[in-house]
């Protein structure tokens, strides 16, 4: 992915200073103890009360991104043949939260 940021998805044209970004990668542990990207997962963003706010499919490289507001959020990751995985994250404006999700 040429020109990609650490999160794997380009931030070209986006004013990062005004956004509270949560992004990361979904991986599945392989026999070598490393993570293979999961490109067919869905990541749901739940607010501090557990209410659904947004959802994205992961990219071919397992990456995802949200433009949240400041505060506490939960990422709920769905993928074929696994139970959903919840991950808590705190976002702030002007910062990028990198989250690694293992399924």
């Amino acid at each position: 992915m040429c020109g990609a940021t650490e999160g794997g998805l380009s931030l070209d044209g986006i004013d990062v200073a005004k956004e509270a970004i949560i992004q990361g990668q979904v991986v599945r542990a392989n026999v070598n103890g490393q993570g293979d990207p999961v490109g067919n997962a869905y990541v749901r963003l739940l607010d501090r009360t557990g209410e659904f706010t947004a959802e994205v499919p992961t990219s071919a490289t397992g990456h995802f991104r949200f433009f949240a507001g400041p505060g506490e959020w939960t990422l709920r990751t769905l993928a074929p043949r696994i139970q959903p995985v919840d991950t808590k994250v705190t976002a702030e404006v002007g910062a990028i939260q990198e989250v690694a999700v293992s399924v």
């Binding site: 956004e19 009360t49 499919p57 074929p80």
Partner: protein, 282 residues
């Protein structure tokens, strides 16, 4: 309308993949999803180019819709089965759009693309070829489409249902959180609107909840079943999902989708806006 006529399961679609009376159509928010793999035989509609006028903010007109469906090989007698990503947001929007132009037999695949993928069902990147048809649309059925002025007049009179997330409703976010937040319009919601996020109507896998659960959700949120209802969101696609629930699954009469939604209302001069989690006064 009812669940039996408006909704089909993934199993049903698999059993009907070779049925020539059915046209499967994928409609996604991310218009590249289809190209990465789709259900065998499905054609694609691009909501940004096929379903929107390219100059004014409005839908394609009757003649353009007729030309579009004729070109893609959709006939008046076909059963149209729609599905898409994002829990069927844009598939529900297309469903409403087909109803707007009077297509007789249209259905939604319960759970859409997500359910299909999570079930590990087959996807293909082969695009089908279909013979052209001569499609005739009806005039727009505006009994299911709300415009700006009637939405303003509905404050304190009809049910207004804001189906965006609680943070968008309260004004803490201006767009769904998978999109950048910088927007031109004001934040908040239409006074008196109940906040029933579209997602309350769906399970995690994108399928719709049961009729009893759905009735309870809207009743608890303060929807008065004896009143007419207008649903809105940001650009009218998530509210199509709720329109589908209220009108097609629950059979409620007089439900309209306000497709101008918050990007129009939040830019109007002089209309009332409520900030925060409370519905606000008329």
């Amino acid at each position: 309308m009812s669940r039996e006529t408006a909704l089909v399961t993934a199993d049903w679609v698999e059993e009907h993949l070779d049925d020539p009376s059915i046209v499967l159509i994928e409609v996604d928010e991310d218009t590249t999803s289809y190209d990465k793999g789709h259900i065998r035989g499905a054609i694609k509609l691009d909501w940004t180019t096929d379903l929107q006028d390219q100059v004014r903010r409005d839908f394609v007109n009757k003649e353009q819709f007729e030309a579009l469906l004729s070109d893609r090989g959709v006939g008046n007698d076909h059963t149209v089965v729609l599905y898409g990503g994002n829990n069927n947001w844009f598939a529900a929007y297309a469903y409403w759009y087909f109803k707007l132009y009077g297509h007789e037999d249209v259905k939604l695949l319960d759970g859409g693309r997500k359910k299909w993928e999570l079930d590990s069902r087959e996807l293909t990147d082969e695009a089908p070829t279909r013979e052209k048809t001569s499609y005739t649309a009806k005039d727009q059925d505006t009994s299911i489409r709300a415009f700006r002025d009637e939405t303003v007049e509905a404050i304190g009179v009809k049910n207004l249902v804001d189906v965006r997330s609680p943070d968008e409703y309260a004004g803490r976010l201006l767009a769904p959180a998978h999109l950048p937040q910088e927007q031109a319009q004001r934040a908040g919601h239409i006074p008196t609107a109940a906040n029933v996020p579209w997602s309350k109507a769906a399970n995690d896998d994108g399928t719709f909840r049961s009729d009893d659960e759905l009735k309870e959700i809207y009743t608890e949120a303060g929807v008065d079943w004896s009143k007419d209802t207008i649903a809105y969101c940001r650009i009218g696609e998530r509210s199509s999902h709720t329109w589908f629930v209220l009108k097609e699954l629950l059979g409620q009469q007089n439900v309209k989708n306000y497709d101008g939604s918050w990007t129009e209302y939040g830019s109007l001069v002089g209309v009332p806006v409520t900030l925060g989690d409370e519905a606000g006064e008329a």
